[in-house]
Amino acid sequence: MAQPPISRGFRGRKPPVQSDRIPPGQHLVHDFPVLSAGPTPHAPLSEWSFSLDQGGKALKEWSWEEFNALPQTRLKTDIHCVTTWSKLDTQWRGVSIDDLLKAAGLAEPPGDFTMAHCDGDYTTNVPVDDLAGGKGMVATHFEGEPLAPEHGGPARLLVPHLYFWKSAKWIRTLEFLDSDEPGFWEQLGYHIYGDPWQEQRYAGD
């Protein structure tokens, strides 16, 4: 649209100092909103496992104890939700995708794309290039505390440079694929990639 209509009398809240860290159409929050499509799963840790899969088979599977014994990565990063909130300097701890591949004995990621599978049947697709090379992790801690169930605990994917629905809550499997396939929200009209700086909220953006 060339000339958006002016909303008479709308002043809004002026962007705060670090506005170069806030993507277009986003606004800053200080709390941590919760968005999910259904009830929050509460799987007992004794039954929890995480696996890297390919072609319907597990390449490697970890129990909760085994997973927590893997090398830990700390990350301080900004996150951006498609419902327009952004939060700066969030602190996470977990296992990087690079370390997971290494621990599974994989020199190379076994596919160019991934699908995250979660408790509650949620899925989301992320290209491998957006996870490997230090870009993504499976996070188990937020701000020094175990990740709360409503925020995706015990473990969620963390891909902070994409809209936050890609950081799938309650992740249990990362499946490697040769082609990019749409996940849950992506099949419901959300963008296949979801770059907040390009404002890729919905299909076609």
Binding site: P4, S36, G38, T40
Partner: protein, 254 residues
């Protein structure tokens, strides 16, 4: 007729369009509904939302999501906005906006928190405050489609004067088409109040809802805390997770 871009294999691109405010309805002291006229509306399903974008005179923009409260059968699109005191956008929409004002809008968005009359089985709607908006779209659609499957709305408000759509809900419940409406008032009840007088809890969900064997479709919308607790209780009562759909408006959880 309900048409929706997200049904086709290639979703329709969501374009911004200019909405004009053609009507305003004061629902409660803190809530106002906006009736919008849109140049190009493809139709929606009850439960979907839109994104709106305001542009100030200096070019400053702000964007937020609002549920569609009107039925797909309705001429216009209605949004219902609750004023958050320190909010950036909701005070503007719920106080300042006048008839004839314009802003950008795109949608409909979302295909998960959706109910249409074609779905079988009883319908159990659970709302807190303005979370009733997308559920109202479902009830208005249900009435327009003359659906007579049993339905219940369990609706929590702070006080009697905070009940949104109160007279229309009374009218819908009086139609005798299988709809039951149960109010609970959490902070203040008028003298002689016969409805609930506490937050939505397990006893209320169990006695007002349908048994799990009836496989009701359950939609829960409102503040995060209400949605978290009600959805957990419904699971504990034995309802299947894939029949429970949630939409969280905020405020934010811990």
């Amino acid at each position: 007729m309900i048409r929706n871009g997200s049904d086709s294999a290639v979703p329709r691109r969501l374009q911004w369009q200019t909405a004009e405010v053609s009507g305003l309805i004061d629902e409660t002291p803190r809530v106002r509904s906006l009736v919008l006229t849109l140049p190009d509306w493809p139709g929606h399903k009850p439960g979907q939302h839109v994104d709106i974008r305001l542009t100030g005179e200096d070019g400053y923009r702000a964007q937020r999501s609002y549920s569609i409260a009107s039925a797909p059968e309705s001429e216009n699109v209605m949004l219902t906005v609750e004023r958050i005191e320190d909010g950036e956008v909701s005070p503007y929409l719920s106080i300042d906006v006048r008839k004839g004002d314009k802003f950008e809008l795109r949608g409909p968005i979302g295909g998960h928190f959706v109910w249409t009359s074609a779905l079988q089985g009883p319908l159990f709607l659970i709302a807190g405050g303005s979370g009733v908006a997308p559920l109202m779209a479902m009830l208005r659609h249900r009435a327009a489609a003359k659906n007579k499957a049993p339905a219940t709305l369990l609706y929590s408000s702070r006080a009697f004067e905070d009940i949104i759509y109160r007279t229309e809900l009374e009218r819908l419940a009086a139609m005798g088409d299988g709809l039951k409406i149960v109010h609970t008032l959490t902070r203040q009840q008028p003298a002689g109040w016969a409805g609930g007088a506490r937050r939505i809890d397990r006893a209320m969900l169990e006695s007002e809802g349908f048994p799990p064997a009836a496989r009701p479709r359950i939609f829960i919308c409102g503040p995060t805390r209400l949605v978290e607790s009600a959805s957990q209780i419904m699971l504990d009562l034995g309802h299947e997770a894939n029949l429970i759909k949630t939409e969280r408006f905020g405020p934010t959880g811990g």
